[in-house]
Symmetry: C2
Subunit: 343 residues, 2 copies
């Protein structure tokens, strides 16, 4: 049995999407046991619409909800909220292995650090989504927003965290790791990235392949792209923006003339496959890496399918042994020796 917490009130479409997603996830994975936190009456009303195994679902009543505009450091004091109550249970109850939320990113990060806690030795948690790439697989981009300001030791740890995720979550052996910079040459970037390059080149447990550019996130052999949270966030959202623009143009152009409308009828399947391949949410949200347990941050706009994918992702990553894999990799690296001034 795998016990996973779901923040039933998190996200733009909660609790409808979270409840439907939870029911769907239970149906897809018979080993799952879900604990939904949130307003019990609302949750029960939503759940009544679906068939699911009631013996594998609990509800913990939490009257409070954290909004997208609440200040994270204030919000985590509200123990009656669905997200914070979930974090406290995740911390205290040993048999619960993961948390899935589509709620406030800021509160998820702050709560993860201050309530659940980091893996021993990890300086900062990092957000790591899986981006579709031209090999039909995914590239893990880490960090993409948890840390606007970074130091070399943090970037080196992001490489460890995302490498462990690639292994535990996607079964990739010795994942190739690139450092996101403004060119591929060793001297590129600012001092932060130059120092990080030097450290990654010497590090054990990380298969560093050098600097990569923005286009290499989707078009290279890299399994992991390490970034400071500022430029990682910009890269992620720039790709999302481009993807949305393209799908919008396709939609417009393909209904522009009678000829293209006829063509569309023949190509519906191809277009559906294409959309699937470009779906940033296919793998169910971003991991918040570096914490003592698995935490998955699903997109704020998540619908039921994405919530179900995020829950399945959390279960897969727990089964794959993410946290022990990170701990093992950390054992092999002496950060004090690698980056003396940082420790």
């Amino acid at each position: 049995m795998i016990k996973i917490l779901v923040d039933a009130m998190g996200g733009d479409n909660a609790p409808a999407a979270t409840c439907e997603g939870a029911a769907l996830a239970l149906e897809n994975d018979k080993e799952l046991h879900l604990i939904l936190t949130g307003r019990q009456a609302e949750i029960e009303k939503e759940l009544a619409k679906y068939k699911y195994d009631k013996t594998r679902l609990e509800i913990v009543d939490c009257p409070d909800v954290i909004g997208m505009n609440d200040i994270p450091t204030e919000a985590i004091k509200r123990k009656q909220s669905s997200l914070i109550a979930a974090y406290w249970m995740l911390k205290k109850e040993e048999d619960i292995c993961a948390l899935v939320t589509a709620g406030s990113t800021g509160a998820t990060i702050v709560g993860g650090q201050l309530i659940l806690g980091r893996i021993r030795g990890i300086k900062r948690p990092a957000l790591c989504p899986a981006i579709p790439n031209n090999r039909g697989g995914v590239t893990l981009l880490c960090d993409c927003g948890a840390n606007a300001e970074c130091k070399p030791v943090m970037l080196c740890q992001f490489a460890i965290l995302a490498s462990a995720y690639a292994e535990a979550g996607f079964g990739i052996k010795e994942p190739k790791v690139g450092l996101l910079s403004n060119g591929t040459e060793e001297h590129k970037g600012d001092p932060l990235h130059q120092e990080t390059y030097a450290c990654l080149s010497k590090m054990k447990g990380v298969n560093f392949v050098g600097n990569v550019e923005g286009r290499d996130i989707m078009l290279s052999e890299c399994d992991v792209v390490v970034a400071d949270g500022f430029s990682g966030n910009i890269a992620l959202k720039s790709m999302e923006g481009c993807g949305k623009l393209v799908l919008g143009v396709i939609k417009k152009e393909f209904s522009a003339t009678l000829s293209s409308k006829i063509g569309y009828l023949f190509m519906r399947k191809a277009i559906k496959r294409m959309r699937g391949q470009l779906d940033f949410e296919k793998f169910g949200g971003a991991l918040l890496l570096g914490l003592k347990k698995v935490v998955v941050k699903s997109h704020g706009s998540s619908k039921a399918k994405t919530i179900a994918a995020s829950i399945a992702n959390a279960a897969a990553i727990y089964r794959g042994g993410l946290v022990p894999a990170v701990e093992k990799k950390l054992e092999g690296v002496d950060f004090a020796a690698l980056i003396p001034e940082e420790e």
Copy 2:
């Protein structure tokens, strides 16, 4: 008459693409007069393939060519090279108004700073491409690679430079300017971006609309997005990568089955229009802004059409009065008062 220099040896496809592009540009604009720098014999051989008005084209023989891997600060000492000879002519001859090159970006930037020189008061030149957006127009992204390390005064000047470009090059009145950050809230980003936000809010001559995210480059109402050269470069290349991935997937999917092949026959025109709308090179390369004359850096992989577009772009921007517009905007701003510690 508008006199423009073309670095005939710059780029992966030179001198074939540059010569064909030059002939094309002369055909399209009867006011143009082009001066091609490079190996005369090779240029004459290429030009012999095309019809053009020979009275409006000169060749200046330069035996040397700067390669993509040459160190820029070394390369600009080579006065016999097609790019550096062009820069010297641009500096010395008053009636020449612009330079177009598809050669080394680094040498173009260094040559611009050290030979041609900056507009009085401008700290650093910046690279500014025009990115297609969801309004069917373009968003100017400045800087996207000339300056990996920036200070607030530089970013504020990029706002002035790109605003002047939007007005002179695209006729946009009071262009809307956003600051690229990892979120739209005022406090987002590192100290560099927080300080820049404060300065831009107070600046005259710049219609600042606040922080924008990566997706807003292609999907917002902004005409100009100001970025430090590191994250601007990452944004640009992330979008390029996503665009290439999508076009690759479309190509694959649309020839995957008999049905989709039939559909393609009906949709050829729609797909062509779509490709056109997503073409990052449509507007002929990036401007190197902040210099005393118009310099256009065309993509290294430019073909004849793109070279011709870059030449047309240079002419349009000169006609629009870019440099005087920048000078006028600079007059209105007292940087010493705005950012005391920087001056």
